[in-house]
């Protein structure tokens, strides 16, 4: 009983010490937590959510019966192209493309009808000058859409001509079918059945919250242990009757409480100020945040045990942050990665934190139940491994 009381005293002392140290240096905490939120706010307020139409020059052959006024191509705007100029000179247009004055040059085929009648496909050439692979993909997609649009127009014209002939020979049933329906008998009618459709900021806000919580927990706990090792306090712990269990529990409780406080304030800001819907149970949200914090603290402890300097701990924490930005689903969907990378992504606590928080708040339920188990397993494995390594470190020679 006495030993239990003493152990509790030691653990609570460690908790109190950690919290006091953080409270006494609020600047570091504020920049750690508020920094990412401010960046997110700028991103959310500054990002329109759509792509800017590409500046386009349409090169129309002189003998083509197409308009030469850019305003006539206003329909292209809906396809992501803003026609700023219509030119008859492809060389000049290419030069403007090379200079960066325009993004896209659309070269209309010289005689599409003749090619068609000759049984050949006419090339609607789309020229671009882009090094950004994402933009290049996007431009390629626009080119395909444009080609489809032109094809559809050709079908429509052909259907119109064909319909007149069909009606004249007795096909009265076609009389009520417009040529565009004949050209495009099926059209897409998208419908989003998600219970909410949050704007960019609230959607990424939840992911940012998970990322901030993980980064805060990893950085603070890793630096705390490494600093104590460097200052010699770890020797003091080793010599005083402090056990690795008490040290781990003390750190986890202290930074867990701190993380919970940050999560609470952030959740209030997200729901109350930024208007993020809160469809799920607050209890479940708290449980997910708790699991995320536990797993992140385990990761931080592991980093602290394997780092021999503060610099190394900081570098490893930043690497975890970088990996989390790329692979957690924060920016890119995890499904877009290869299987081995997906496996690695699922080892990051934040991957499950983002998925579960977005599900709970935006859908009201946990869609991927296995993520809860995964987060719990990650937390357990990391904490037990860190405890084991710390215990070995604190053991006498």
């Amino acid at each position: 009983m006495i030993q239990v009381t003493k152990s509790l005293t030691r653990t609570l002392a460690l908790v109190g010490k950690e919290l006091l140290e953080v409270v006494r240096r609020p600047g570091a905490m504020i920049s750690l937590v508020l920094g990412p939120f401010l960046i997110l706010a700028v991103f959310g307020l500054g990002y329109g959510g759509g792509r800017v139409a590409l500046r386009t020059v349409v090169v129309v052959p002189p003998d083509a019966a197409l308009p030469t006024d850019p305003a006539a191509y206003e329909a292209f705007q809906a396809r992501g192209l803003r026609v700023t100029e219509v030119s008859a000179n492809e060389v000049v247009a290419r030069q403007r493309l090379a200079n960066g004055a325009v993004d896209i040059v659309v070269v209309v085929p010289h005689d599409a009808r003749a090619s068609l009648e000759a049984g050949e496909q006419a090339d609607l050439r789309i020229l671009m000058n882009l090094t950004d692979p994402v933009m290049a993909n996007y431009a390629g997609f626009l080119a395909d859409t444009l080609a489809a649009e032109v094809n559809r127009e050709l079908y429509r014209r052909a259907a119109e001509e064909g319909r007149g002939y069909a009606i004249s020979v007795g096909g009265r049933a076609l009389e009520n079918i417009p040529p565009e329906v004949i050209a495009s008998p099926v059209r897409a009618a998208p419908e989003n059945i998600a219970p909410t459709r949050p704007a960019i900021l609230p959607f990424f806000g939840l992911a940012a919250l998970a990322l901030v919580l993980q980064h805060m927990a990893v950085s603070l706990v890793a630096l705390s242990v490494v600093r104590e090792r460097r200052s010699g306090a770890m020797d003091l712990f080793r010599i005083a009757p402090v056990r690795a269990t008490e040290l781990v529990v003390g750190k986890v409780l202290a930074y867990g409480l701190l993380g919970a406080l940050v999560a609470g304030i952030s959740a209030f800001l997200l729901v109350g100020v930024l208007g993020v819907p809160m469809l799920g149970s607050p209890g479940l949200v708290a449980a997910v945040v708790g699991l995320l914090l536990l797993a992140s603290l385990g990761l931080g402890l592991l980093i602290s045990v394997i780092s021999d300097s503060e610099r190394q701990a900081v570098q490893l924490s930043l690497l975890v942050l970088l990996a989390s930005m790329f692979f957690s689903g924060f920016v890119l969907r995890i499904a877009e990665f290869t299987t081995p990378v997906q496996v690695g992504a699922n080892l990051l606590p934040v991957t499950h934190g983002i998925g579960l928080l977005q599900d709970l708040l935006l859908r009201g339920t946990i869609v991927q139940g296995w993520q809860v188990a995964a987060l719990a397993v990650i937390a357990g494995v990391l904490l037990v491994t860190s405890w084991g390594l710390l215990r070995r470190e604190m053991r006498p020679a």
Binding site: T9, G16, S231, D235, L236, F237, P396, A397
Partner: protein
Amino acid sequence: MPAGTILGIIGPSGSGKTTTIRMLMGSLAPSDGTVRVLGEEPTRFHRDTREQIGYMPQAFVLYPDLTAGENVDFVASLYGLLLLRRWRRTREVLELLDLWDVRKRRAGALSGGMQRRLELACTLVHDPRLLILDEPTAGIDPLLRRTVWDELHRLRDTGVTALVTTQYVTEAEECDLVALISEGRLIGFASPVDLRRDAFGGDIVEVTTTGTFDAAVLGTTSSVRRIRQTGLRDFRAIVDDAAVALPELVDAVGEAGAEVASALEARPSFEEVFTELVEADRRRRDGEPEQATAAAAPSVPLGRPPGADEDPDESEAVA
């Protein structure tokens, strides 16, 4: 090491003092031999045993963002002191080390001397039986050093055993027992008085005559072990017992036809003692014949200090 004594491990920087401390604390295993502290091998300390030891590391390891009071309270908690006792002991040690008035000041804002005292307060807060202090007086001013030693003497008088390392050779005088180490070797282990005698082979008497005098003529005097001429009118005699030898020397000089101007028992400084012992150790290792010194080599192994075997029941060996 007998209980209730202060053992000073003295040696220059890099001589192995901290390594010794680390072995005593169980952070390092000895490459040879055995270490026992409070009856246990340090690498297998029980929790109860650890709670009886107060350790003060060489570097400042406390938390600069916590106040002086919070630091002491934290360390007291690490040793499992419950709330009321913790408050009482925190106040006691802070008052004892004259830090009570700055208890609410952050440790990082304290002067170097105050920080050292704060560390000492943290070391004492759980009432340890054995203190292991790694250079507690390093980097602090002479007045504060005096305070630290006074406090250690007071603790020693209450039965606390203290093992203290220091690179200040002169601090050997403050210890009950002194272990002089150099380059990882124990080159002297005795009480300060005995160590001084060991270094020079006996008491030292310095004699000055009124006129020129050749001290070699005194070689036959029974109480004199060795004579060294240090000037035309000065010589130094190594004797068994200065009190007995002084009148004999004065008589012998008179019988030799000279007159003694002064004859005093000399107390060589511990720098001289240390230098003498280091030189003797070097010569011994190099296989050179013994010269000026007689019993420089430690004659008593670490576990049995001088006096300890005279009446082993009177004191408990703690280290």
